[in-house]
């Protein structure tokens, strides 16, 4: 069952929600990967999604984006989502190892990909699209990186380039899968700074992470997932010893204490 620990910092479950998820469930064949997940996301929230490997964090993100078949309801800005069209306000940034980093594409081209939703397939990007893309790169501190090949970027820069693409898409909710994995401490802090600057502009971010200590210190709210939503609320309460042991098993609370 879900432990609703406290009112989250924003107004949820009403017209102000950017994202409403109700009774979300996913099955892969006979395996139930996720069941009965319900939560809402308000404007400008930075939410950590925690859970062990195989808990269903990525599945939950993919279901929200409509990339896997699911039961339950996903509403974006109050609009019930049937296909992909209604979900274009959500951007999903998959784990880094899912992308071919040596694909011949420049940072500018990557960011312009976010503008595709605003034009027909036969139209080329306009000068307005290019101006928006340049602005988005500026917001993630990658100004002037347009012509750099993706393979030339560091891990942190790459995540920021993907974020710029999500911004160019004008996504109001960004789902980042393991964005902070495999990057060093300064890069993590740099990314968190970018996350924070985006939330102050009204974008909400859900970041799947294994770093429980970081989740406690740096996020407004945490969702604990393990097959279903086990906890939802301020990090101090979601990351309590009792709940952590429910989600991760015994010994997990040491990771937060560290």
């Amino acid at each position: 069952m879900t432990h609703r620990l406290a009112d989250p910092p924003h107004d949820h479950g009403n017209v102000h929600s950017l994202l409403d998820v109700v009774g979300l469930g996913v099955r892969y064949g006979t395996t139930e990967a996720l069941r009965d997940v319900s939560f809402s996301v308000g404007r400008g929230e930075l939410i950590g999604v925690i859970g062990p490997n195989g808990a269903g964090k990525s599945t939950m993100f993919k279901a929200i984006c409509g990339l896997v078949n699911h039961t339950g309801v996903v509403e974006v800005n109050g609009v019930h989502c049937h296909g992909h069209t209604e979900r274009m306000d959500i951007a999903y940034i998959p784990q880094r190892n899912d992308s071919d980093l040596h694909f011949p594409i420049t940072v500018g081209e990557l960011v312009l990909a976010g503008r595709r939703r605003f034009r027909r397939w036969w139209n080329r990007p306009t000068s307005d699209d290019r101006a928006v893309a340049a602005q988005c790169l500026k917001k993630v501190f990658l100004e002037g990186a347009d012509d750099r090949a993706l393979s030339e970027l560091s891990g942190g820069q790459l995540q920021r380039a993907y974020l710029a693409r999500a911004l160019a898409q004008q996504a109001s909710v960004v789902l980042l899968d393991e964005a902070l994995s495999g990057v060093d401490q300064p890069t993590t802090l740099e990314l968190l700074e970018v996350f924070r600057s985006l939330t102050t502009e009204g974008t909400s971010l859900l970041v799947a992470t294994h770093d429980l200590a970081l989740a406690r210190r740096r996020f407004d709210r945490c969702l604990a997932v393990n097959g279903t939503l086990r906890g939802d609320g301020p990090p101090d309460q979601v990351l309590s010893v009792g709940l952590l042991e429910t989600v991760f098993g015994s010994g997990a609370s040491d990771a937060v204490a560290d």
């Binding site: 984006c65 274009m88 011949p104 594409i105 990557l110 595709r116 939703r117 030339e152």
Partner: protein, 278 residues
Amino acid sequence: MQWLTDPFQAEFMQRAFLAAIIIGAVAPVVGTWVVLRRMANLGDAMSHGTLAGVGLAYAAGVNVLFGAMGAGLVIAALLVLFSSNRRLGQETVIAVLGTACFAIGVVVISRLDTGVELTHFLFGRVLTVTWGDIWLNLGLGGGAVLVVFALFGELRLATFDHVQAEQVGVRVELVQAVLVVLLAVVVVISLRTVGTVMSVTMLVTPAATSRLFARTLRQMTLWGMCLGVSEAVFGLMLSYHLDSAPGATIGLVAAAVFAIVFAATLPRRMPHHHRPLD
């Protein structure tokens, strides 16, 4: 100088060069996406499998190019049908289909009593290309190039990150289907020039060579075209002077260029060149 001009004297050689230039220019444009999407095995299966259509068309007295095109489309449709089977990987389905269609072609052609040799279709007979073939290849090839350029942005999005592409409205499966049809078109226009077996060489090798050094997709496509045309023309010249099989000679030239570029770009591709430190 005479070495260069001699092969162009006879009209049949001029037609052969035109046919080689068309395949050299068109195949890498489609091949760029075959390489990037790691579909080379599909190209291989398609090139072998079209022999079924060639054999059946020949037996029925229909233009073999139509037979090849029909076989390519049937293979594409069957592939979509069988790929949904989760127990088998797509590579397995591709191999089964490709070899089965190849076997049909070999059996049908070997049963024909018309004196036609299997090797004509497998390795092409570029010296017997007619003006009709050239116009047909030009039409099909030009169409394929136009489709790739029209869909360039969609192909880029669907290939690099199909998840995000779907999210922003790209019809990823339709793009994939179009590419498979283009693959069949390339095999068809390769038929007389380099043959079904060697068509995958023109499809993959020049594009793979330019992949080694090109920074952007446009560069990769344009360099692929330049390499494809040069390799086809030089290969044909070489085969004229060496009196060797034209299709295979073109294939060898393409492979030699790949090997040289691979060796020359090796230091650039060493791991420490990929990613700077954070």
